[in-house]
Symmetry: C2
Subunit: 118 residues, 2 copies
């Protein structure tokens, strides 16, 4: 066990079903490869993730037709698989964004109500 503090807390379960759309959102800006996505999610956004999470996820996105991939050589290291958003993926992202708003509002409404100050 000995989880390093990222997966142990409830946040791990929070990522469920959201992470894939975060990835789609990151691809909106342009093509990226998996390792890059992991680093950005970890560093910039505090959404700690490991490769074991991202690869099955990307596999699924590919199977859904939400992303396309191209192999590109790298100057320094093994070739990289770059992911780009498809129109379908872009639409899925937009749909999620529309669901995220009300959902967020509902949760906020439940949490922020400081009714019992007792």
């Amino acid at each position: 066990m000995v989880l390093p503090g990222g997966a142990r807390s409830g946040v791990s379960q929070l990522r469920r079903g959201i992470l894939q759309f975060c990835v789609l959102a990151m691809l909106r800006d342009g093509e990226k490869y998996a390792f890059e996505l992991v680093r950005e999610l970890c560093d910039a956004h505090g959404l700690v993730t490991s490769e074991g999470t991202i690869y099955p996820l990307l596999s699924r996105l590919r199977k859904e037709g939400w992303v396309n991939t191209v192999w590109k050589e790298s100057d320094s290291g093994p070739p990289r698989r770059y992911y780009t958003l498809t129109p379908t993926g872009r639409r899925a992202l937009a749909e999620f964004a529309e669901e995220w708003g009300p959902f967020k509002t509902a949760v906020d409404g439940l949490l922020d109500r400081e009714g019992s100050r007792e």
Copy 2:
């Protein structure tokens, strides 16, 4: 199969790990019983849920020591099991609230960036 349209979309996975804290938040205002929770989550907050979701969830909360329960007779129907928050549960709720903020911000940051309008 034939999912009625609430569970099919991505929102179903959104609820993961959040629903239990929504329940805790609802119990903050006072004791409630399971059927009541389902109705409120469904009606008021748009977080569609069914009994099949709530009972295992409450079972878990009880096992974690986050809620206590008391049986009370009802004038019109079978007896009800009322749930109340324990201090531990209250703390868990507070901890989640602290995690929810940054998480929400991170996701918003990724989604709301309307950089590419095309």
